[in-house]
């Protein structure tokens, strides 16, 4: 890679990264539709199956960046989609098996053609695996006074085409992706949109071939889209994140390859994978980490509420001034680490305080919270008691669960529906009822 006088190393980096980014962006964007339509594996199949098309294109034109490759690949890609559909609907083979049959066959055909005609057109098996990214930037052509890599122009062309396709068919694609039946019944040509999308995916796959090779294109088709899907609930957001992932893996893939010498294409896949893993852990709504955190916070809140409710119930008895023993406090929270933590949080927030002799009592703020909770509990018991034919000893348990989810508004509504909103079925006073 040294001794190229046209460009400094910086130029190489710039061109290579631009080609990789422009090549993987269409994959990432169209991949979002595949993901939504649960057709990711069709993308997988296409990315394998366009190989014969690519080889034929090379064979006809003898160049790495000609329209022939794109044309042949689109034809082969559409043929693949049709064959999969045929084998499924006419042959009665299950969908996944028909996919497996068609794409492995096409790929095998491609490999055999590659081995047979490849040497004549300077294309080998390594290109299929690692893409051409490490060499295509050398093949340049003057453009507006600059020497621009030919490959960049073709991948930017595909990028423009994909953007135009998405822009023009935005509404149709969205409708077909989210609700194909509705789309059909509204008169949108769902099948036409499907095959257009397949054609575009085939184009994007060939573009991706430059960047990451035929097999790893699947990473660019699915992984950025899946990352976006974890990070956003809106199509635009999903696509934005997918594009960001694709660009980031192009940039980091280039430098990662410089550092570890793993080849740029596999490095791009690895970077995309790392991005996906991060999103999987940290995504605000759908991430595993944030979901675990939310569950933990909910568990902590419930335990803390159980503790203050227990303290409130003690304050209703004769031994009110004594408070509750520390140990019983923990037991009320179910014991264990979580209860300990919850009690500490309650201390820290000033909702409970020491009385004496390792005994605990509610403070004024704690009392407020406890009242609302016990009110919710007893209102629910009263509601169940009035409206359902349940024995008295069956009321406590559901109320114990529901009390944590009844806010003030629901409490008022319950109270207004009750004949007696001041006493619960066990004869205990419902707190706060005199105030309202």
């Amino acid at each position: 890679m040294k001794g190229i006088d046209l460009f400094s190393d910086g130029g190489q980096a710039l061109w290579t990264i631009s080609i990789a980014a422009a090549a993987s962006l269409p994959c990432a964007l169209l991949g979002c539709y595949l993901l939504l339509r649960r057709m990711s594996l069709l993308g997988d199949a296409l990315s394998h199956a366009v190989l014969p098309g690519v080889v034929i294109g090379f064979w006809i034109s003898g160049s790495t960046s000609s329209g022939w490759i794109f044309a042949a690949a689109v034809v082969v890609g559409l043929l693949t989609a049709v064959l999969i559909q045929l084998l499924h609907s006419v042959g009665g083979v299950t969908e996944d098996a028909s996919l497996g049959v068609v794409f492995t066959s096409m790929f095998a055909l491609g490999v055999v053609m590659l081995v047979k005609v490849g040497p004549r057109v300077d294309l080998d098996v390594d290109c299929v695996l690692y893409g051409l990214i490490e060499s295509v930037w050398l093949d340049t052509q003057p453009m507006l006074g600059y020497e621009v890599p030919r490959a960049l122009m073709s991948v930017v062309g595909v990028l423009m085409l994909s953007l135009a396709f998405i822009g023009l068919f935005w509404k149709e694609l969205k409708l077909v992706s989210f609700d194909p039946r509705l789309a059909t019944s509204m008169g949108y040509p769902a099948t036409l949109v499907h095959y257009l999308l397949m054609g575009m995916v085939a184009l994007a796959v060939v573009a991706g071939f430059y960047a990451v090779g035929s097999v790893l294109v699947i990473a660019m088709l699915i992984v950025p889209a899946a990352t976006g899907h974890l990070l956003s609930d809106r199509l635009v957001g999903t696509m934005g994140w997918a594009a960001a992932t694709a660009i980031a893996s192009s940039i980091l893939g280039y430098f990662g390859d410089l550092r570890f010498e793993t080849g740029m294409a596999p490095m791009m896949a690895v970077v995309a994978g790392a991005g996906f893993t991060l999103a999987l852990l940290l995504a605000p709504r759908h991430g595993l980490g944030s979901r675990a955190f939310h569950r933990f916070r909910l568990a902590l809140r419930i335990v803390a509420e159980d503790v203050v409710a227990a303290l409130y119930r003690t304050s209703e008895t004769d031994s009110a001034e004594l408070g509750l023993a520390w140990r019983s406090c923990l037991a009320a929270g179910g014991g264990g680490l979580l209860a300990r933590l919850a009690v500490h949080v309650l201390f820290w927030r000033g909702e409970i305080g020491w009385v004496a002799d390792r005994r605990v009592q509610l403070t004024a703020t704690g009392r407020e919270r406890a009242e609302s909770l016990v009110r919710a509990h007893r209102l629910w018991e009263a509601y169940l008691g009035e409206n359902f034919d349940l024995p008295l000893d069956h009321l406590h348990e559901p109320a114990e669960r529901v009390e944590h989810y009844l806010g003030p508004a629901l409490q008022e509504q319950l109270a207004s529906e009750l004949r007696r909103a001041d006493l619960d079925p066990h004869g205990k006073v419902i707190p706060g009822s005199k105030l309202s």
Binding site: V112, L129, G263
Partner: protein
């Protein structure tokens, strides 16, 4: 006389093909056809790690590593499916591409930072090379083949149950999850053992192709297993021979041999094949045309005044191309259902009248059946059979007949095509 080496390789690939076909049948029936693909791709990093840590090309270590990451990949797929909003297909694709990408990265890293044994030939695992197979490899494959066969023979009933109706098996008290796991284990081991010959990218095809081809020929699991194993052996051997002669990798040639088998099966298989179905469809169409024609002639024609019906009147009654109408007229005349009165009009013969009555009755009863028992309609895929008495239980037919006498037979019903 076949040279010793070729004999070894041929034995290995056909044994491998037979095993893959056998195990692949269950993978196909359990709808796990593509899981094998993901597993094979996910095995690549394990292969490379095995080499990287051991510093030599020890097949057991590398295959052990492959099995480890392959199974880990499957674990990630089911984890993604269960715990995140990522769907099944995307999970398979994600694991496949990311593990494979990591594997390629490792592979290139090993090639550029050689340690220990020469890494040359490591990339043969990607597209497969059977030429290097030695006797010990064949022994390994043989062991797996025998184990697989024994497992299937011993647990045939259980596997069959789980393959066709896992929920029912569970309800019946079979350890369905364990059996499922056993099938998955057999699939994994087969895939891993097939890797050196068939290659990471195309191993899964060896599982799927023989089974898919076999499925076309039979509806019985036993026959399907036998066929799939034979097909697997045949494509393994054929692919190897062609690949040895033509200087192309073995994996793709085996797959293409399998593709040819699937294509032949899809075209020529009895009943499920395209040819057989086209013939059957044509036959059914002609029979329905004939029935429609009989009904149309049976209805008297007010314009001609008699029981004879003119061609134009028929064409008006039957909404079908004139050419097809001529065809069915000729056929019906040959069969003796109708008689030409003069150049342009026909009337039914006596047998034709009774056949028309039978058709009318059958259609009427079927229509009633569909309105009375709509939930059972899906049980019959050919509602137009005149053999209604053979298809439906006699007491139901009797009930339907009673119902049809109660509702006065209307004339439009008779004439409707």
């Amino acid at each position: 006389m076949i040279p010793y080496n070729t004999a070894i390789v041929l034995t290995g690939t056909s044994l491998l093909g037979a095993t893959s076909g056998l195990i692949g049948t269950f993978a196909l029936l359990r709808r796990r056809a593509l899981l094998g693909d993901t597993l094979a791709h996910a095995a690549l990093p394990g292969l490379c790690l095995g080499f990287l840590l051991w510093h030599q090309r020890s097949l057991p270590v590398m295959l052990g590593g492959a099995l480890a990451t392959g199974v880990a990949g499957i674990g990630v797929v089911s984890g993604l499916r269960r715990f995140t909003r990522i769907k099944d297909d995307a999970a398979l694709g994600i694991v496949l591409s990311l593990f494979f990408g990591a594997g390629l990265a490792l592979l290139k890293f090993i090639q550029r930072h050689p340690v220990g044994d020469s890494p040359a030939g490591l990339d043969h695992y990607i597209f497969g090379s059977a030429a290097g197979m030695i006797a010990s490899d064949v022994k390994l494959i043989g062991t797996i083949a025998v184990t697989g066969l024994l497992a299937i023979l011993l647990l045939y009933k259980e596997f069959r149950m789980v393959s066709f109706d896992a929920a029912f098996a569970r309800v019946q008290g079979w350890p369905a999850s364990f059996l499922d796991f056993l099938i998955m284990l057999l699939v994994s081991v087969t895939v891993i053992v097939a890797l050196p010959a068939a290659g990471v990218v195309l191993t899964a095809a060896q599982l799927v192709l023989p089974a898919v081809a076999a499925r076309f020929w039979t509806d019985s699991l036993g026959v399907m297993l036998f066929l799939a194993a034979s097909f697997g052996a045949v494509i393994g051997a054929t692919g190897t021979l062609i690949s040895a002669g033509g200087g192309v990798p073995t994996g793709p040639m085996i797959v293409l041999a399998g593709t040819a088998l699937v294509a032949v099966a899809m075209l020529f298989a009895p009943r499920r094949g395209l040819l057989a179905r086209t013939i059957a469809d044509g036959r059914a169409r002609r029979r329905i045309d004939e029935q429609n024609l009989l009904l149309a002639i049976d209805a008297p024609d007010p314009t001609s005044g008699g029981a004879a019906v003119t061609f134009d009147a028929l064409a008006a009654r039957l909404t079908q191309p004139v050419g097809r109408l001529r065809q069915s007229l000729r056929a019906a005349q040959r069969a003796g259902w109708l008689r030409r009165v003069n150049a342009d009009s026909w009337r039914l013969t006596e047998t034709g009248v009774s056949r028309a009555a039978a058709v009318t009755r059958a259609r009427c009863l079927w229509r009633l059946f569909l309105t009375e028992y709509p939930e059972s309609a899906s049980l019959f895929n050919d509602l137009d059979v005149e053999r209604i008495d053979e298809v439906l239980p006699s007491e139901i037919v009797a009930k339907l007949e009673e119902a049809s006498h109660n509702s006065a037979p209307s004339h439009e019903e008779k004439a409707a095509p």
